[in-house]
């Protein structure tokens, strides 16, 4: 049987998560949480996750704030569409976006951002061509959407992950 490398950070994270969820620091839960953290991180290491290098804390904070603002804005925009008149000048459709991102963690983060902002939906990422297909609820102009996704989200993600 192959030895799996121990992942101290994952184990520690799981341990803190356990204590947070149970809201206690009693001995029983420290023991249980420790066991859960060991088993969990061992299971994770069996998946052989890639090493992640994250830089630029400032960029992370700026991106998070930007995403929070965008989530609120797009919630309002989609709410308007839903409550607005049934017949309206609106076209929904698919957009193909060529991406430079290749880091799987960065792509996963982008996936979370795109689905968390209502109005855009992650459909498919073609790893060989490097194109991302998204579905947009209110598609005014394809090139605007491509520029938005690339400029607002992809560039900071490139800074953070690659």
């Amino acid at each position: 049987m192959k030895r799996h490398p121990f992942l101290p950070l994952a184990a520690f994270g799981l341990f803190i998560l356990w204590l947070l969820l149970n809201q206690t620091v009693s001995y029983g839960h420290i023991l249980l949480g420790g066991a859960a953290a060991l088993v969990g991180s061992w299971a994770l290491s069996a998946l052989r996750p890639q090493k992640v290098r994250i830089r630029r804390l400032g960029a992370i904070i700026r991106l998070s704030l930007r995403v929070l603002v965008d989530i609120v804005k797009s919630n309002i925009a989609v709410g308007r569409i839903i409550l607005g008149p049934a017949r309206q000048e609106r076209r929904a459709g698919f957009v193909n976006i060529p991406l430079e991102l290749r880091n799987p963690y960065a792509l996963a983060t982008l996936g979370c951002i795109i689905t968390s902002t209502p109005g855009t939906l992650w459909v498919d990422f073609d790893a060989t061509k490097g194109t991302l297909m998204i579905h947009v609820l209110d598609l005014i102009d394809e090139s605007t959407w491509i520029r938005t996704i690339k400029g607002r989200y992809e560039r900071p993600l490139l800074e953070i992950f690659e």
Partner: protein, 135 residues
């Protein structure tokens, strides 16, 4: 009455506003499931509940119990994180299943038309905007 009566007025008002806002957002999202036209459009609707809806209610809960217990209660953040990380998976599976169904139906319709018979399967949902390329 109960321990919620101990909440100071300012906190009670903010919490009430947050809960109502979260519930309203989620309700609008659910209405979207009924009002929007195609499957792909309807997929956008529930994300209102999973983002701003959940966010407002999580904030309200954090504020409420932080004030009541006079300590910072933060484990609700975990709910927000888990919801944010898991929703994309469900949505991606749904949208890709729909794309697959569409491409199968289109192929069937084409072959049916070739046979000269009636394209029965395509009548279910014809109102899609088609993807730019088949996958």
């Amino acid at each position: 009455m109960n321990e919620f009566a101990k909440l100071p007025d300012w906190a009670a008002i903010i919490i009430a506003i947050l809960i109502l806002a979260g519930a309203a957002t989620t309700l609008i999202g659910s209405l979207g499931l009924w009002r929007l036209n195609s499957f792909y459009e309807r997929l956008h609707a529930p994300t209102l509940g999973t983002t701003l809806g959940t966010g407002c209610i999580v904030l309200a809960s954090m504020l409420c119990f932080s004030v009541l217990q006079t300590r910072l209660v933060l484990h609700e953040i975990l709910i927000a994180i888990f919801v944010t990380v898991t929703t994309p998976i469900t949505l991606m599976i749904l949208v890709r299943a729909a794309l697959f169904r569409d491409s199968v139906e289109r192929a069937e319709t084409l072959s049916n038309m070739h046979d000269g018979s009636h394209p029965a399967t395509s009548e279910l949902e014809v109102n899609h905007s088609r993807p730019p390329e088949a996958t």
